[in-house]
């Protein structure tokens, strides 16, 4: 056990901290991108013209129906081979990861946003109209506050999933938390210890994020709000 703790402190943790930083540099932009895409796509699916809504439904089905690892592989390995005449789109491993995570997460986020928007009872929109609120005011004061609260658990959980799936970046050569762990394990042959610590890092990240989410949900709680599903 002492050997483990020493090893952990002297070799594992410093190496993993560097990887942790890379992971964070991946997760934050990807999460933001995912939410942005999710809001745009979700809104378009509910309020947009039918052809656009259908097209976006297609995007969502595609990105939810294929493994993320296949998508990452595509962005990093396959994209440069796309026949675009003289130019080649080559993404660095980091960018391929951020874009891949963002697009995939965005598809899932759009589901939650869509659910939130659809849950607003139509009668409230009529009441807003009857009071003379413009459509913009109705969206800002009636739709968004409620849709946001309804979508928050789903969107928050999706970000937590993203934290875990960011580990896939190691497969396309990014030196994130998992990638660093792998290199370290390969060079020291101490797989079990290294990966236990890697697991603990992720556990800590996920638990912290979950606590933040629960806190946000509680702060925004409105009595009787969650029960309404129409």
């Amino acid at each position: 056990m002492d050997g483990f703790l020493d090893f952990a402190a002297n070799r594992i943790i410093p190496a993993l901290d560097a990887g942790l930083w890379t992971s964070i540099l991946l997760i934050v932009p990807a999460a933001l991108l995912g939410v942005a895409i999710g809001v745009a796509a979700g809104t378009a699916r509910v309020y947009g013209p039918r052809p656009l809504a259908r097209a976006i439904d297609g995007y969502v089905a595609l990105f939810r129906g294929t493994p993320l690892v296949v998508q990452l592989y595509f962005w990093y390995f396959a994209l440069p081979n796309l026949p675009l005449g003289d130019c080649r789109i080559v993404l660095s491993p980091m960018w391929a990861s951020i874009i891949g995570f963002g697009l995939c997460s965005g598809a899932y986020q759009s589901e939650y946003i869509r659910g939130g928007l659809l849950s607003i009872k139509r009668g409230q929109l009529r009441a807003a109209q009857a009071l003379g609120l413009t459509p913009v005011q109705t969206v800002a004061s009636v739709v968004l506050p409620q849709a946001f609260r309804r979508a928050l658990p789903g969107c928050g959980n999706e970000i937590i999933y993203l934290i875990k799936y960011s580990s896939l970046a190691s497969v396309i050569t990014v030196n994130d938390l998992t990638g660093m762990g792998r290199s370290l394990a390969k060079s020291t042959f101490r797989n079990t210890e290294v990966f236990i610590v890697v697991g603990l890092y992720y556990l800590a990240l996920v638990t912290a994020a979950t606590l933040v989410l629960r806190y946000a949900e509680r702060r925004l709680e409105i009595p009787g709000f969650e029960g309404k599903k129409e």
Partner: protein, 237 residues
């Protein structure tokens, strides 16, 4: 145009080999769902009907397996733990050096964590009167749970299972990292030798997409077959 033809050719030539990977993919999914079921049901029952210790244990199990990424679990099990276990002669009968075995264990135990929550929700959505009536008839709790609660709860869980299926299908693609020759693994190796990652990754994507769609259809059929006429289930699953 030439490039297109040779790309299409490469994909076509690789098709039989890649389709061969479907056996492994199917095996991973079925194995994982089975392990998930076998462990998930007792976990759910312990969570709902057990004492404080059981509840804490299940909560801890769920926290652990839902908090660590699958990829890390795969590395930990296959490169780490299995390597240790293979030094114990008593366990030599287990296929410890098989990536497939590790992958099924990892995917299955993680799935059990999620499935236990699905079943827990289903059990809790049943009206309290069900168990009361069973007890009034003189059934022991164990019998009541087996004969009354679980048959209903399991039926209610089928919609959530199709979600679990599509998640397992996608996670199975990670097994290539520990040497399982399923679809993703084969796609990568062929793409590397033929230098045609584009058509091959598109092929793999299409294959997985089709499997997702087909599997959900099958599960919908299953749901219709076992449906109890006139049964209106409460709660949203």
């Amino acid at each position: 145009m030439e490039g297109f033809i040779s790309a299409a050719q490469a994909a076509w030539d690789a098709l039989p080999y890649i389709l061969g990977g479907l056996w492994w993919t199917a095996g991973l999914i079925l194995g994982a769902m089975a392990v998930g079921l076998v462990f998930g049901v007792p976990l759910a029952v312990a969570h709902v009907y057990g004492g404080a210790f059981s509840r804490r244990f299940v909560a801890g199990y769920v926290w652990l397996f839902r908090g660590v990424p699958i990829l890390v679990q795969l590395y930990l099990f296959y490169f780490g733990i299995m390597a240790y276990l293979s030094e114990i002669p008593a366990l030599a009968f287990l296929p410890l050096s098989s990536g497939f075995f590790s992958a099924v264990v990892v995917l299955g135990l993680t799935s059990a964590a999620y499935q236990s929550q699905i079943f827990r929700g289903a059990i809790r959505s049943l009206p309290a009167g069900q168990l009361r009536a069973a007890r009034a008839l003189g059934m022991s709790d164990a019998t009541a749970i087996r004969a009354v609660i679980l048959p209903q709860a399991l039926r209610l869980s089928i919609p959530a299972w199709s979600n679990e299926y599509s998640i397992l299908l996608k996670d199975s693609a990670l097994a290539f990292t520990i040497g399982v020759l399923e679809v993703m693994s084969r796609t990568r190796s062929v793409a590397a030798t033929t230098h045609q990652p584009l058509p091959l990754s598109l092929l793999a994507g299409a294959l997985f997409f089709f499997l997702t769609w087909a599997g959900i259809k099958v599960l919908k059929r299953l749901e219709a077959k076992v449906r109890i006429p006139g049964y209106a289930h409460q709660g949203t699953l």
